[in-house]
Symmetry: C2
Subunit: 222 residues, 2 copies
DNA sequence: ATAATTTTGTGAAGCATTTCACATATTTGG
DNA sequence: CCAAATATGTGAAATGCTTCACAAAATTAT
């Protein structure tokens, strides 16, 4: 370890590589359903609109999983990637803000399949507190600190209005949660040791708008 | 123009720059609400966790909007960025798939504020066709070609199950739409002249999972 | 009016990511 | 069993993106 507490010699993996691992995982799941034993970097690349070299380079950061002349074993590689991404286990998730978007996310099967289980809901609306969504009772946001602290929830999805998002995330952080996915269109301040990702749909619409107005030729889609 | 029909000498603007323009727009909207006349690249950067140099470089691709020693005029810059992004106008949008996520998106105020107006809904579920969501009647997907062709809709949000997404997008493309925002977790095939963006929430959760498991220190949040 | 301060705009340098290209390993076909 | 074909893994080159650093311009202070 060095002074910052970081592993020395541990290669930096880029955000793009991690995102592509998700794509590989998705393609491999499909290949498995189609009963393919092996897959080449060429085929894997084609399925996610990438290049074969990119696929091989990405995988090479984590080991060598293929056989020359043959390709990669589908199921084995899928499991390896799941382990790398940390989705070879289940994560308990709490969702804060059971409104339009929050309700849509509760019970989204794809999350559960990937190991993300929403097991707790919070809101501050008296009409919602105590009500039941997909078998989960909505808790009072005022109890979030106690309820999260004594739970094994490590991840929170934040789906509250932007105006209150900073206050709510402060509570979430105080409750000891280290990873947060935020849907509010605002730059939230959190301590350095918290992993925070933002989902910003307007951004993608604006990208499309820009592309149309400017006849933009993107290097690639995302 | 060169052989490909592209403007020659038109600088390639990176995807990252375009996404940051959205962030600048958002920060400038807030600065306007706070009655700030001007803002420096330093302050703008701070508000979106970027660097001042990045802000200035991004803006410099499109012109020189600031005053040395003073900064950028808030309202003027906001309008300039809106024009660059193409959101200084209104875009008519159709949404296909009025399910969990689709319903959440209909009537999401933030979209309307940025000029994206959802004016048409499509579904294939007989129970939903004819019903009313936020004042919009749900149309039958079977009529999409005619209804879109004779409309001024230029953008489609696709919120149907992954299993049918390719068929539905084929219909959307045939109807002449050139820009699509897709929520289904699948790589859709479209002709080269179609702008397609994918919104993939699992990817962000998986990124968080990877970060936690690997003690990942990201270069920056997104 | 002048000096000190602030802040932009931008080439150039530095850094990160992607693509190339090929040695190497393995399979496939005869 | 050998030759041809296939496909990985990876340094090196190419490309792309971010940060640096500073001249130039404007403001602010005296
Ligand atoms: N609706 C969409 O399609 C959409 C899309 C993208 C992003 N978003 C963002 O997601 C967030 C939620 O949007 P929405 O449309 O679901 O809004 P919503 O008003 O339907 O839901 C917000 C929920 O948060 C709850 N809430 C409010 N204050 C709270 C607090 N202090 N503690 C706990 N809960 C609280 C409300 O009671 C409500 O249930 C917003 O930030 C919005 O900008 C929404
Ligand atoms: N629910 C979520 O939170 C969530 C999050 C991220 C992504 N997604 C993705 O968004 C898509 C929709 O998810 P959902 O949860 O809203 O599902 P859903 O089943 O609630 O909604 C899908 C809607 O599409 C309609 N539909 C089905 N086939 C159709 C067709 N051929 N033409 C037109 N409409 C058709 C259905 O009738 C339904 O109303 C899926 O691809 C899903 O993976 C959902």
């Amino acid at each position: 370890m060095d002074q910052t507490g970081e592993m020395v010699n541990k290669k930096r993996i880029s955000e793009s590589t991690i995102h592509r691992l998700s794509l590989y995982f998705r393609a491999l799941s499909q290949l498995e359903r189609e009963n393919n034993e092996t897959v080449s970097s060429k085929e894997l690349a084609k399925r996610e609109k990438l290049t074969p070299a990119q696929v091989r380079k990405d995988l090479s950061f984590f080991g060598s999983f293929g056989t020359r002349g043959l390709g990669y074993p589908v199921v084995e590689l899928k499991n390896k990637i799941a382990a790398i991404l940390g989705i070879d286990r289940s994560w308990k998730v709490a969702l804060v803000g059971v409104g339009n978007i929050g309700s849509a996310l509760v019970g989204y099967k794809e999350f559960t399949k990937q190991g993300f289980q929403i097991v707790k809901l919070f809101d501050n609306d008296q009409r919602k507190i105590g009500s039941n969504h997909k078998g989960i009772e909505v808790s009072d946001i005022d109890n979030i600190k106690e309820e999260l602290t004594e739970s094994d929830i490590e991840l929170v999805i934040l789906a509250v209005p932007a105006a209150v998002a900073q206050f709510v995330i402060d509570d979430v952080v105080r409750a000891g949660v280290k990873a947060i996915l935020n849907f509010a269109p605002i730059n939230l301040k959190v301590p350095d040791d918290i992993y925070l990702r933002n989902e910003n749909m307007s951004m993608e619409l604006e990208y499309l708008s820009f592309a149309m107005v400017n006849n933009h030729t993107p290097r690639k889609v995302r």
